[in-house]
């Protein structure tokens, strides 16, 4: 295992809580978290367990990052059209 990865895993070990939310609960809550962030609220303070799960779960974190990008576009009325996105696939 590479050192950076080991460090980050060790950090995950120490940040382990006795109770953590599941991936299903994360999926259920993540849209609220994303919109709180976009509206400038302290989403981490409001939903600490969700943030804790995202820090521990790569699969949920990957989904969160994409969702966050999409929601920001939507919020700024800057969503590209499907045709524009199709052009990026080649």
């Amino acid at each position: 295992m590479e050192q950076k990865r080991f460090e980050s895993w060790l950090k995950n070990i120490y940040e382990t809580q006795d109770e953590e939310i599941s991936c299903t609960e994360c999926f259920d809550l993540v849209s609220r978290f994303v919109d709180l962030e976009i509206s400038g609220e302290d989403a981490v303070a409001i939903m600490p367990q969700l943030k804790q799960h995202l820090d521990q779960c790569r699969a949920c974190r990957d989904e969160y990052e994409i969702l966050s990008g999409l929601a920001r576009w939507e919020n700024d009325d800057e969503s590209p059209s499907s045709d524009d996105l199709r052009d990026l696939i080649h």
Binding site: E7, I13, S31, V34, D35, Q56, D62, I66, E78, L88
Partner: protein
């Protein structure tokens, strides 16, 4: 070209999607556009996962994911609590389905090296990699001790299932959805196994006097 497609309020989305006839059709067409955009955005970022697939086929996969996401959203309408924008809530179904599809494409046909599951000799290499010439001897010894505690917990304190999942995900870096597929389980079960393994590792390290700050500083570069 930029445009606005999502001009409905949350209540209007719910109302229109639950309506019938033309109102519902129009709302579903708009929802479909929204979901397709999410799928295409994700695919365009993960194009490497589709290496070797012709463009037409990738676009067809995008249409299929969009259709699956549309069905998922319609089936879960009653779960929407209105604590986010409807579009953000709907997007997550498309993101979940599209990300699983692109990961599946990347890992399809990759055979996992089962030998490394039973051969532990390569798993704990970090101890060797971490030793730098300027490291104080006692620091090096403590690093070794941390590594040894982790190895002991993995070998003796974890269940067979916890050990297998930890090795696949942490050491072999296999994505969760692929582990789910290959072991015929679900994300929650995998997460729980990893959570239990982390708890055992944490309490063993702390029981031997390795508190968080000190331990992390031992390894930080």
């Amino acid at each position: 070209m930029f445009f606005m497609s999502n001009t409905r309020t949350n209540d209007e989305w719910l109302h229109d999607l639950r309506a019938s006839g033309e109102v519902q059709e129009a709302a579903m067409a708009d929802l479909r556009t929204l979901l397709l955009r999410a799928v295409l955005y994700l695919f365009s970022r993960n194009l490497g996962d589709f290496r070797g697939l012709p463009r037409d086929e990738i676009l067809q996969r995008a249409e299929d994911c969009t259709q699956d996401a549309l069905i998922a959203v319609m089936n879960h309408l009653s779960d929407f609590r209105g604590d986010s924008k409807f579009s953000t809530w709907a997007y997550k179904f498309a993101v979940n389905i599209a990300l699983m599809t692109s990961r599946r494409e990347r890992w399809k046909g990759v055979s996992l090296d089962q030998s490394s599951l039973s051969d532990d000799s390569n798993l704990f290499e970090w101890k060797m990699q971490d030793k730098s010439p300027e490291l104080a001897p006692d620091q090096s010894a403590m690093q070794g001790e941390v590594g040894e505690i982790i190895r002991e917990v993995i070998e003796h304190d974890l269940t067979e299932k916890q050990r297998q999942i930890l090795i696949m995900m942490v050491f072999q870096e296999i994505p969760m959805d692929e582990v789910v597929l290959r072991l015929g389980t679900n994300r929650n079960a995998i997460y729980k196994m990893l959570h239990d393994a982390r708890r055992k590792l944490k309490s063993s390290l702390q029981a031997r006097g390795f508190e968080v700050g000190e331990t992390l500083s031992l390894f930080s570069t």
